[in-house]
């Protein structure tokens, strides 16, 4: 950090004294403000009869939650309900990060495509999604797109057992049958073998300079071994097909419309931003680099993988880290369309018992933790692609 160098005055001790005094004054102001707020809060809570503290987390929640990854019913405690919310936030964020990265890369590559029409359409996509509030995109997806799907009775069925209706998406649910455990063990063994082949291939290339297709070989090993195990254990994965009964589908794996809308909205919105990062990454690679590699006769796939990609990632990754963090924070907009994420569940709890301070503190703690984990992970990735300055 560059800082303004202090001008040496004649009485240095006087200046130090002044600095200490100023800091002390700031401290006094901050502390007294905190004390003032604390006093008021105590008085207000007493007046409203709200008991502060986290004891309420153990009380029975009595609030219904539509979507839950773990078993939940209203007799469970507030703390458990909040945990359901956290898991929902994590699940939707994780899925959205993966999908928006894929879509974002496609959009970014399309933006710099030599195909005029493709580049134009990608630009329109980016400029549209980036200039409309995410909340509107979410409501639009929820009310207009999902709302205009047919009633479950006349659900659109793209494949056998896959149904699209205004009550959500229903797909067959995989069910573990006899021998599934053995199959999983075989799959783990296969992946260990595949990864060690990849590592060996890399070391072999370093040692001898000969190319061994490590990734493809590893994939082949994994596919063949798991395929054999699948056949040997006699197809251990059954499926439960959703069926229309009464008013809605039963059985199968159901994705609620709120979840589908939230995921779609988040992915479409974030992909526009990631697409821009990818585009600026690609454009930041000097044309001379690609031309030089082509002139040396390097195959175009290798040029992309080993010349363009590493340099483009240097620009793309830091910007994308911010977009991932925003995505997790944006998932809180679930509250507007009724998906029970952490903010939505917490908001209901505040409405029931008025423990606003505790719930807001818990929200902040969870979001800060998630954000720190994301920036930690992405910084690790980033430190691998940045130029090592000597």
């Amino acid at each position: 950090m560059s800082s303004i160098p202090k001008i040496k005055s004649k009485s240095l001790s006087g200046q130090v004294l002044w600095a200490v005094f100023a800091q002390g004054a700031v401290l006094v102001v901050v502390l007294s403000a905190a004390y003032f707020l604390f006093q008021n809060t105590q008085a207000n809570l007493d007046a409203k009869g709200i008991k502060s503290g986290f004891a309420f987390l153990g009380h029975e929640a009595g609030l219904p939650i539509g979507d839950s990854l773990i078993e939940y019913d209203p007799t469970k405690s507030y703390g458990y309900a909040f945990l359901v919310g956290i898991l929902n936030t994590l699940m939707v964020s994780a899925l959205a990060i993966i999908l928006s990265t894929i879509l974002g890369i496609l959009v970014g590559v399309a933006r710099v495509s030599s195909n005029w029409l493709l580049a134009r359409l990608a630009a329109i996509y980016v400029e549209t999604l980036r200039n409309i509030p995410l909340l509107l995109t979410l409501i639009f997806t929820y009310i207009i797109i999902i709302g205009s799907l047919p009633h479950p009775r006349d659900a659109i069925s793209l494949f056998d057992g896959y149904f699209l209706s205004n009550r959500g998406i229903y797909i067959p649910k995989p069910i573990a049958e006899d021998g599934f455990g053995i199959f999983i063990i075989a799959a783990i063994v296969a992946s260990v073998l595949a990864i060690s082949f990849g590592v060996w291939a890399r070391q072999y290339k370093r040692r001898t300079g000969r190319l061994v297709p490590g990734i493809w070989g590893g994939l082949a090993i994994f596919t063949v071994l798991t395929g054999l195990a699948f056949l040997a254990t006699g197809n251990p994965v059954g499926s439960e097909t959703p069926e229309f009964r009464g008013f809605n589908f039963s059985g199968g794996l159901g994705l609620k419309p709120e979840f589908v809308a939230l995921l779609t909205g988040l992915v479409l919105y974030t992909a526009a931003y990631i697409g821009e990062n990818v585009r600026s990454g690609i454009e930041s690679v000097h044309a001379g680099q690609i031309e030089a590699a082509n002139a040396l006769g390097v195959p175009s796939g290798v040029v992309t993988r080993l010349v363009m990609l590493p340099q483009a990632l240097r620009v793309t990754i830091p910007a994308t880290t911010n977009d991932y963090a925003s995505l997790v924070k944006n998932s809180s907009l679930a509250v507007a369309i009724g998906f029970p994420d952490m903010v939505s569940v917490g908001g209901t709890i505040i409405g029931q018992n008025g423990q606003a301070i505790e719930i807001i503190a818990m929200w902040m703690a969870v979001y800060l933790t998630i954000n720190m984990l994301i920036s930690f992970g992405m910084n690790l990735l980033n430190s691998r692609v940045q130029i090592v300055e000597r």
Partner: protein, 371 residues
């Protein structure tokens, strides 16, 4: 023919036949070949995309214009397959100002005209420098006076403010207050004494680490608990304060980027000339830093305007809130697609023009193309 004689022997140099004139690289056909049909993959992509467009565009155009109803009421609209635009005309006053008293509607209208005039003057580069800044600082005050009522005008309670007016007001006041606040936070983080620095970092990182909704919940639910009961700040004001804090933290990070980009020589030169450290920061560093980060600052302004849509979650009826309400009007049931389409268009128009303006500034600024 040229005879070339060397130690190896004699060879005849025979020039190759002259190449033909280069093929024309202009004209629509060549443009098509170059941009849409270069190689089989490219051609296939183009064909697929053209197919999709031929399928989607007619549907869109039919719905938007050809089959749309432009005059009539809900009944007429229901018989048509297209969009129902009379619905939007009728709802325009509500969408713009919410439930603001009908007879006083001229007051926000005057403020709106002033805003449009100032936007025109700014975009067309008619006013610059201090006049520009002064006008933008004065505008929200003028708008607040006109909308809220003062100096003998009838007062209009803040609970009656709504619609696009409220969205723009929240964003405008938010931007104008949060930029100075952001500058102060950034300076505190960059130059402050350890305690001030720690406080600034704590504030910035805490706010940037949590979603805006939690901050809005905090100001609307928690803030009344923090303050003595006799100190009542109404909901709109509290939410405005929350938006300002949120925006200031992000502005501070943008401005810090600008502070970091100013070369050290600037500080040293200024100090060497005998300018005091405080004046150096205020008159040498900050103006350059702000100029440097103008494009991302405009990006933050756009983000803040988009973020104002979140206030419906804590009970304010901004533009999106009014759209939601209009879609539920029993006289006009079933036209929510039109309502949300219109909302998207308005948000898009405002944000896109702002971002175009930002890009124009970028090209005009110190690092622009016209160097």
């Amino acid at each position: 023919m040229t005879q070339i004689t060397s130690e190896i022997g004699t060879k005849t140099f025979e020039p190759l036949a002259a190449r033909g004139a280069p093929t024309q690289h202009i004209g629509p056909l060549n443009w098509l070949r170059k941009n849409l049909f270069k190689g089989w993959l490219n051609s296939l992509t183009s064909l697929v995309l053209i197919g999709v467009l031929l399928w989607v565009l007619p549907v869109m155009i039919n719905w938007l214009f050809l089959d749309a109803v432009f005059r009539g009421n809900g009944e007429v609209c229901r018989q048509s397959a297209g969009a129902c635009w009379p619905f939007i005309y009728e709802k325009i006053p509500v969408l713009m100002v919410g439930v603001y008293p009908q007879e006083l509607i001229w007051r926000p209208a005057v403020a709106g005209v002033a805003l449009l005039a100032l936007v025109y003057l700014t975009f067309s580069d008619r006013i610059r420098g201090f006049v520009l800044i002064g006008a933008w600082l004065a505008l929200p005050l003028f708008a607040l006076v006109m909308i809220g009522g003062a100096f003998g005008m009838t007062e209009v309670n803040q609970s009656l403010w709504g619609g696009l007016m409220l969205s723009i007001l929240l964003a405008l006041v938010g931007v104008i207050v949060s930029i100075p606040l952001g500058v102060m936070l950034a300076l505190g983080r960059f130059y402050g004494s350890p305690l001030v620095k720690a406080l600034c970092i704590g504030f910035i990182e805490l706010i940037r680490g949590v979603p805006l909704i939690t901050i809005l919940f905090m100001v609307s639910v928690m803030m009344p608990l923090f303050l003595p009961p006799e100190m009542i700040i109404n909901n709109l004001m509290r939410i405005q304060i929350g938006m300002i804090f949120f925006s200031a933290a992000y502005m501070a990070e943008v401005i810090r980027g600008g502070l970091q980009a100013i070369p050290k020589g600037q500080t040293e030169a200024s100090l060497a000339l005998g300018v005091s450290p405080n004046h150096t920061i205020l008159f040498v560093i900050v103006p350059q830093a702000l100029r440097h980060v103008l494009p991302p600052l405009i990006g933050r302004c756009i983000a803040l305007f988009k973020d104002t849509s979140l206030v419906i979650i804590v009970g304010l009826l901004d533009f999106l809130g009014m759209i939601k309400g209009a879609a539920l009007d029993p006289d006009w049931l079933g036209f929510q697609t039109e309502a949300y389409f219109f909302a998207a268009f308005v948000y898009w128009l405002i944000c896109y023009s702002l971002s175009r303006y930002g890009r124009a500034l970028e090209n005009r600024g110190p690092n622009g193309a016209k160097r």
